[in-house]
């Protein structure tokens, strides 16, 4: 018997159909991955199940009964708990309060019993094999612990269905393993888990079944073991496996290298990265590989002058330089597209055009203004060049999908005509199709003689795209591979040590 079932659920937003009749079901005691690209309708479906908004048509059955939850709280009372992507907890309150708030144990007089609250919190955490001081503020713990606290809270009610929406996006490898252990334990106990993620490996590591959505429609539900990975990707983006192979094969590595563009000898920063040599030639793509926290992004920040280096020397096109501020790096035609585009990149309430000209305007200085016509021409040029999907350059950037936002950011820096382009996790959180496009774009740029430093936590991408790879572990360079030696196996070996 299915614990949860949706029957031809539809949802319309202002005339746009976000869900077009989705049938979906989850059994008790299974981990069910819900897959789809951005905009496929995953979040909408989850929000209908948890009562964030009502369905336009169709029905939801839980435990055999039709239900119409009016709020997440309603759903929680029925036994459906959700843990959201960004940790949605209260950082300045204690761990115990975060687990118990709204359902604290009370004394006979109706007052909260602080002691019982701690006991209850410890019990909830013990179920996940966590033993921490529950009296401390939540913010004093790592994101991984906070995520587990959120799960502990979700389980603290009589929960039968647990929905995990991108729970691993900010966790490192070990933390992900811990989370999976917890998920498997809960599965043994008979809990149903809906698991949403962008990471394909993780899907196969824990899921029993996989349901794929595309453009608001159900593509199908499959047993994980019967669905080869390439087929899953194909179903997600609506292309055949052959077409995907072609897309990936279509990424042609540039092989013509010019002179050294940027060279650093022994640059480092105490407490951030041990001294390391970095050099990259025109037309070359240099990869920085390593686990989260291995020093990948830190090196990018040092090169760009965000965190100035305190040892070593650098040269740019043969001239000695000292990038101790981003302005200096920008002047020397270096561009950095930073990791978290929401925080350090896009300005959501400006248009695409305004977002694109930003860096160029900054490097020109405030006195050298561009006419509106020039700006429009520039925006249109890059929209075409990078195949940004938008009706016009006057669209607000916040209305674009993640992949297209990323392209606008790349356009912003391309507009300054850089010699060295540093891309920190450019493919994070964007869908498979857009990833392939961004990858082939960087190759094209290399072909035009740009030097590129590419940082990604997905090793396949590094292997596919880079001509040389510096491997990092614990904030130290542990090796370098080039040409034919670049393979998943070799890089993994170096990372593992």
């Amino acid at each position: 018997m299915d614990l949860l079932q949706t029957k031809s659920v539809e949802k319309q937003f202002l005339g746009v159909k976000a869900l077009k009749g989705v049938d979906f079901s989850v059994k008790a005691g299974e981990i069910h991955a819900l897959m789809g690209e951005n905009g496929a309708g995953k979040s909408t479906l989850i929000k209908i199940i948890t009562g964030v908004y009502p369905a336009s048509a169709g029905s939801v059955y839980f435990n055999g009964k039709e239900c119409k939850f009016r709020s997440p709280l309603d759903a929680e009372h029925a036994g459906i708990s959700t843990v959201y992507q960004e940790v949605n907890l209260l950082p300045d309150l204690s761990v115990a309060e975060n687990i118990c708030i709204g359902r604290e144990p009370r004394t006979k007089l109706g007052f909260i019993s602080k002691k019982q609250r701690k006991v209850q919190a410890r019990k909830a955490l013990a179920r996940l094999d966590i033993d921490i001081n529950v009296g401390e503020n939540l913010s004093s713990y790592s994101i991984a612990i906070q995520q587990l606290v959120a799960i502990a809270r979700a389980l603290d009610v009589d929960c039968k269905l647990l929905i995990l929406d991108e729970p691993t996006s900010s966790l490192d490898e070990n933390e992900v393993k811990e989370l999976f252990k917890v998920m498997k334990k809960l599965r043994e106990e008979g809990m149903a888990i809906i698991f949403i993620t962008h990471f394909l490996d993780q899907v196969y590591e824990v899921s029993d079944r996989i349901t794929i959505l595309r453009d608001g429609q159900l593509v199908g539900s499959y047993d994980a073991k019967d669905l080869p990975r390439i087929e899953m990707v194909a179903k997600m983006i609506g292309k055949t496996p052959e077409e995907i192979n072609q897309m990936q094969a279509g990424i042609v590595k540039n092989t013509k290298f010019g002179d050294v563009v940027y060279e650093a000898k022994g640059i480092g920063r105490v407490g951030t990265v041990s001294p390391v040599d970095v050099s990259v030639r025109a037309g070359e793509q240099l990869g920085l590989a390593g686990l989260l926290g291995s020093g990948r992004s830190e090196i990018a920040q040092i090169i760009f002058g965000v965190d100035p280096h305190d040892s070593g020397t650098m040269t740019m096109c043969g001239n000695s330089v000292n990038f101790n501020s981003p302005q200096k790096a920008v002047k020397a035609k270096v561009a950095l597209i930073a990791e978290d585009r929401k925080v350090t990149g896009i300005i959501p309430d400006l248009t695409i055009r305004e977002n694109i000209i930003l860096a160029l305007q900054a490097s020109n200085g405030i006195w050298k203004t561009m006419s509106l016509k020039q700006q429009e021409e520039m925006a249109d040029k890059y929209i075409k060049l990078l195949r940004i999907k938008t009706p016009s350059g006057e669209q607000l950037i916040k209305h674009l999908s993640g992949g297209n936002q990323q392209k606008v950011l790349i356009a912003r820096w391309l507009a300054t005509n850089p010699r060295l382009l540093i891309l920190d996790e450019p493919t994070r959180g964007i869908d498979v199709g857009a990833k392939a496009e961004i990858e082939s774009l960087t190759q094209e740029l290399c072909g035009e003689g740009m030097a590129v430093i590419f940082i990604s936590s997905e090793l396949e991408e590094v292997v596919r795209d880079c001509d040389r790879v510096i491997v990092l572990r614990d904030r130290k360079k542990v090796g370098e591979v080039a040409g034919e030696d670049i393979s998943l196996k070799n890089i993994m070996k170096l990372i593992a040590g």
Binding site: N88, L89, D92, N137, S140, Y141
Partner: protein, 328 residues
Amino acid sequence: MKQFKFPMRYVPISATILVFFIVYLIGIICFDNFGSPKVFMNLFLNYAYLGIAVIGTALVILTGGIDLSVGSVIAFTSILIAKMINTGCNALAAIALALVIGILFGMLQGWLIHSFSLPPFLVTLAGMFFIRGCGFIVSEESLSIQNDPVFSFIQDNLTITLSKGLHLRFIVMLYVAVLIIAVIFSQRTRAGRSIYAIGDNELAATLMGIPVGRTKIMTYTIAGFCSALAGVVYAIYLKAGNPLNCVGLEMDAIAAVVIGGTLLTGGVGYVFGSLFGVLVLGLIQTLIQFNGHINSWWTRIIVGLLVLAFIFMQNLITKISKSKSKSH
């Protein structure tokens, strides 16, 4: 043995208490009579009305909101009570009506803020002008309350004489009682904890199933009640009402809350700290009165500097705890 670690969250309130004792010590060293119980008692007597108003402000600020109508509500309720008594109305009825109006006014502000997602700053700014005007409609001039049996009863019978010349007045007892209730409410009830949750992260609170709207309206209602009660206390204290009184008092209230260790962005702080916020304000004023030579406006300068210092301290603590969680 477990290593003792002083929790970060107690730092601001400890700093407030420390400042209080330092200022008190300065007073004792500089002036002979400063340490006498009478001076201390007067501090409570003179600032009971402010203290009660500050409790409401503290709760509102803990939700991440603000209430600018405090001073106007105090003025309105005090003149309303004075006017009603002067027209022959029973004082208790007048007080009851004033409190009901305060409650309804706060509830209305909370409802507007929640239901239409309006900024609390603007809604309570509008409320401030509105209720200040209402005070002048009641009476354009100040009215004194004389020979009222209820007020005389409060004065004569509801006072505990501790020793010769040292009296524990009704309004001081009232302030302490309200403070104790507010502390227990904020720390030990679900509604009280919801206030903190909303101020910490409203979206998270909503997703955690906390009744955000209800809690917000409740908080502004409590603030309205506190302001009205402060008006009642003010009328008892001065035996008069004046529509011009307490202009800008809400700013003193906010300053007391900040000095009391509460974060203006909400979610962090203690209602109990507001007591010390008020006492520090009062002590500085008293200190300058004792001196007699210094221009009394120096109080404001010192309060300004103190508020700034506390904002810097909060800022620093936020940064430290952030870097701590990173290194975990």
